[in-house]
Amino acid sequence: MKPAILETKDIHVAFNGVKAADGVNLRVGEGEFLAVIGPNGSGKTTLLNICTGYIKPQSGRVCLEGKDITRLGPRAIARRGVARAFQIPQLFSDQRVIDNMMLALAAKDGLWSAIRPLETEARHQEATRLLELVGLADDAKRISRTLPEGHRKLLDIAVAMALKPRLLLLDEPTSGVSVLERFPLMEALMAALRQARITALFVEHDMEVVARYANRVLVWNAGQIMAEGRPDDVFSDARVLERVVGVA
């Protein structure tokens, strides 16, 4: 078994008595591409919020490469190599697409070496390379709020990638992305993740994407892991087909 990059140990989170995580033990192995699927409102995004320190579990522990990060906030966890792309893109909407990217790259370099301008040759090249990866190179000079929703989503992923994370958390990476762009994006993303040896955990509703790209699938239901395993095994489980995929 590959060493774990992220582990949750018996985590519990409830909102007004509704359990979003109920004694969850999760393990993400290094180099994995783990998909989390489940019905709407089952707590998938809450899982990402817990793993990035946005929500603190009421009990249990979250460990990153064996170190307890349960009480750390998003900033501290980001500095430890965890990046996140959001379900609703989180961008600097008044700034240009390229500036969004270069600010993320500057954050990785260390913001305090701030005497030089944001736009350096090296940053510009790297930002352009990442924008090409997600197909946004032509939009580099646009103000990010003017992008269509699908492209905003792609930019959000590229911003997260700019941090060169050890672990990338993606919340529905293909939602809002057009059907034509969906698979090319995933192919490019997978290639980039493999090349940079980035482990990824992604929440997804598109079962075709999950079946094609995930190494392992985790089925989340009512704050618990209902099933997990290889995509073929999970999608042949009758309970999963009935409750999650919607095929009885």
């Binding site: 900033r75 996140r84 954050a107 990785k108 701030a114 005497i115 000079k141 646009r142 911003v159």
Partner: protein, 307 residues
């Protein structure tokens, strides 16, 4: 193009007192207020409105008089130390205030500045109360000058400082820190998820803005020759916000454009009518209605395509 325009603007302003000597005082005050408004504009980029920056303006001017009392009499030292004092006050106040946003930030700045104003007005033995304190004429590199000569030097040094300090602020705003400051306005969550400490970004901005207000205050103190508690009154803080918005927050020159416009308009209006506030107010309404990005919006190059 913008650099050439800025250089030409400064040359014209430098030449104006040669034609109309009475303008020298007005323009020196405009430069002083321009620096303070630039401080306010720095925070406006993060969406934070300070209605209390006159406090730093006054703190620095009082700092000059206190230092002069202690025997410090060199212009450069007085200027530098008083600006540092304003920055230090900014660091202390800012460490509390940068946790707040929107109306809370504005009101807390107002509240702190009014406490400072009250202290200046009431501590008669220390600050001279509402009478204020005289600001002595300092020496320049050990040379004693008469009042007229000193004020002429002050004017041209102030113009020189626009170039030097303006370039430094421009550099800061174009750095990752400056861009992170603008990003606070649109998405603090993303900044945190990039590992950028928002409080530190804001605290640095606050200290810089306090130092700029302090620089303005020191220049104003030297130009007027007296510092009074009214320097810190809330209407003075409101005036700085007005200058910043009027000039435009898109770039460094905006604050100075706004300051020169308002001071010159004010000087012209008082010669026409006692109701000069009416003229100034009407002009402001027109500018704000037709130039929502301020005067500097005219000159801003469209860096981004919004197609």
């Amino acid at each position: 193009m913008r650099t050439i325009l800025a250089a030409a603007g400064i040359l014209v302003i430098a030449a104006l007192p040669l034609v109309a000597p009475w303008l020298q005082f007005v323009l020196t005050l405009a430069v002083a207020k321009g620096f303070a408004a630039l401080g306010v504009a720095v925070l406006l980029r993060a969406g934070l409105i300070s209605i209390g920056h006159a406090m730093f303006f006054a703190a620095s001017a009082y700092g000059v008089t206190f230092l002069a009392r202690l025997g410090v009499n060199d212009f450069a030292v007085l200027l530098a130390v008083s600006v540092l004092a304003a920055a230090a006050v900014g660091a202390i106040v800012g460490s509390f205030l940068v946790r707040y946003r929107a109306i809370f930030f504005a009101m807390l700045n107002l509240a702190v500045s009014m406490v400072f104003y009250a202290l200046c007005a009431k501590l008669y033995g220390v600050t001279g109360g509402t009478d204020g304190m005289p600001v002595p004429i300092p020496t320049i590199f050990g040379i004693s000058l008469g009042e007229a000569a000193f004020k002429q030097v002050l004017f041209y040094v102030s113009l020189m400082l626009i170039v030097i300090v303006g370039a430094a602020v421009h550099r800061y705003l174009d750095s990752p820190l400056g861009h992170a400051l603008s990003a606070v306005h649109t998405n603090e969550i993303r900044l945190e998820y990039l590992g950028i400490p928002v409080w530190a970004v804001l605290l640095i901005a606050y200290v810089i803005s306090a130092a700029l207000a302090g620089l303005g205050g020191a220049i104003a103190g030297f130009a007027i020759g007296r510092v009074v508690p009214d320097f810190a009154f809330w209407t003075a803080s409101g005036h700085l916000v007005l200058v910043a918005v009027l000039g435009g927050i898109g770039g460094v020159p905006g604050a100075f454009i706004g300051a020169f416009f308002l001071e010159l308009l004010h000087s012209a209006a008082v010669t026409v009518t006692d109701a000069w506030n009416l003229v100034v107010g009407a002009a402001l309404i027109i500018v704000i209605m037709f130039l929502p990005r301020g005067f500097y919006g005219f000159f801003e190059r469209e860096k981004a395509s919004a197609l």
